[in-house]
């Protein structure tokens, strides 16, 4: 089923007029693909979806969730986590508090990665961890902290690389048992995060499109990874400004491996790899 740009626009306008959600500044290609998938999964055409969205709030919410992409992993891109471990988080070790915001946290794997790393660095107690996403189903999954084992077996390699190994000293090996942080059950195919980790983060629904003050707080570190790839340049810029406002000076913003900041806003940050430090 091929949708025209006008049809996608029609859908975006309908959602906008029927709810508080606005996808008009989402990247065209992925938005169109998501919408095509929704039509196929619901076995209907565009008008069918439009009519249902207009008359059925539950369906509208579900459609909005289906538009969002929720791919995430524990310690996705270990090199970024090594940067956090050796270069960024130690800078906050003298702070009284460390405020961290996972913007677009999806099902929470990176929130747990962060807390595990903080605990290993002895910074767990002084850290406040905030995590937000548009998709409340994803947030519910994040709160549960339960993931499929088989599907995510690569997590353990990533954990080893970040927590057990030291890329600067191959002789160093920290034999941290997985059970310190999560329980693996191969029979029920599950990885369950331990309760002490689950209790810490403050999860909230939040739409980056609207910005606004979510937590009435400033942050030392904001992680927003593989979220802005779904936004057009104009919306990316708004989001970067929002992050800039909510960072302390010398606070860090960490993006996905293939995301980058463009335009005037870059002058307000120092960039090193995927980490941007607020000037």
């Amino acid at each position: 089923m091929i949708l025209s740009d006008q049809e996608v626009q029609f859908f975006v306008n309908t959602i906008k007029n029927s709810s508080g959600y606005d996808f008009s500044e989402y990247s065209e290609k992925s938005l169109k693909r998501r919408l095509q998938k929704i039509l196929i999964d619901n076995n209907t055409d565009l008008l069918g979806i439009i009519n249902k969205v207009k008359t059925n709030k539950v369906f509208l919410e579900k459609t909005v969730k289906d538009i969002t992409v929720n791919t995430t992993e524990l310690f996705r891109d270990p090199q970024i986590w090594q940067t956090l471990k050796y270069r960024i988080l130690p800078k906050f070790s003298e702070n009284r508090n460390i405020n961290i915001w996972h913007a677009g946290c999806s099902t929470g794997q990176e929130v747990y990665s962060m807390m595990i790393l903080l605990n290993e660095l002895g910074l767990y107690d002084k850290a406040k961890v905030f995590a937000s996403d548009l998709n409340t189903d994803a947030l519910d999954a994040a709160k549960k902290g339960n993931y499929k084992y088989r599907f995510n077996i690569g997590y353990l390699d990533n954990f080893d690389k970040v927590i057990k190994e030291n890329p600067f000293n191959y002789e160093e090996y920290n034999d941290v048992p997985y059970s310190k942080y999560f329980k693996i059950d191969k029979v029920t195919d599950s990885i369950q995060m331990n309760d002490f980790l689950r209790q810490k983060p403050i999860f909230r629904q939040h739409d980056l499109v609207h910005g606004g003050d979510l937590y009435f707080a400033k942050f030392d570190l904001i992680l927003c990874r593989n979220v802005i790839i779904y936004f057009k340049y104009s919306l990316q810029n708004k989001v970067f400004k929002l992050f800039h406002e909510h960072l302390y000076t010398n606070g860090y913003l960490v993006l996905g491996m293939h995301e980058t900041m463009l335009g005037e806003i870059t002058s307000r940050f120092d960039k090193k790899g995927q980490a941007y430090r607020k000037k």
């Binding site: 065209e28 290609k29 998501r34 779904y230 990316q236 995301e259």
Partner: protein, 185 residues
């Protein structure tokens, strides 16, 4: 004249692609979009391996990067790589398509929408059917469809799947692909 080349490959394509990239002139006039499958756990090192052999610079692009002639754009591992209509790269972490992320079908389909009849698409050796649908889309949009000669492929599944779905313009050996690309202006 043509505005871009898009190449898809999987098992058995690495040597072919390095041979092609090492034969291009430094001032090759078109961008080369590369969508190649690789092992999920081999996330880095691939672009370096290609760069060593290639005469044109090869990058794993950033999202929204502008596509420029004379440069190779390798779909980053674990991302789909699209071409937006404004000739910029778009990346996505959506579900794998036919078990593949990056998906050759998606790179080909979106490149075809952006470049229409100004696009050359080449499908190389591979062990699955990814790319066949994308090449069909490319051909449908007026692009030029080339498939590596299955008799030369280490694994023919991908090229044969493409040939089954589309009447292509050329079935070429690696050498023929290279001499064809060298004639482009």
């Amino acid at each position: 004249m043509y505005k871009a080349v898009v190449i898809g490959g999987s098992a058995g394509s690495f040597q072919v692609i390095t041979k092609i990239l090492s034969s291009l002139p430094k001032n090759f006039p078109l961008p080369v979009l590369l969508c190649l499958h690789r092992l999920k756990h081999v996330r880095s090192g691939f672009v370096e391996a290609l760069s060593i052999k290639s005469t044109i610079p090869i990058v794993e692009p950033y999202d929204k990067e502008t596509i420029k002639p004379g440069k190779g754009y390798l779909a980053p591992s674990n991302y789909h790589m699209y071409v937006e209509l404004n000739k910029r790269i778009a990346l996505s972490t959506e579900e794998p398509v036919n078990h593949s992320r990056p998906s050759i079908d998606l790179t080909f389909e979106t490149a075809a929408q952006a470049y229409r009849d100004k696009l050359i698409g080449i499908i190389l050796s591979g062990a699955n059917r990814d790319g066949a649908y994308g090449l069909k889309k490319l051909k449908h949009a007026g692009g030029l469809a080339i498939v590596q000669d299955p008799n030369e492929c280490q694994v023919k599944t991908m090229t044969e799947a493409s040939l089954k779905l589309t009447t292509v313009d050329h079935i070429f050996t690696t050498e023929q692909i290279i001499s064809f690309l060298l004639k482009l202006k």
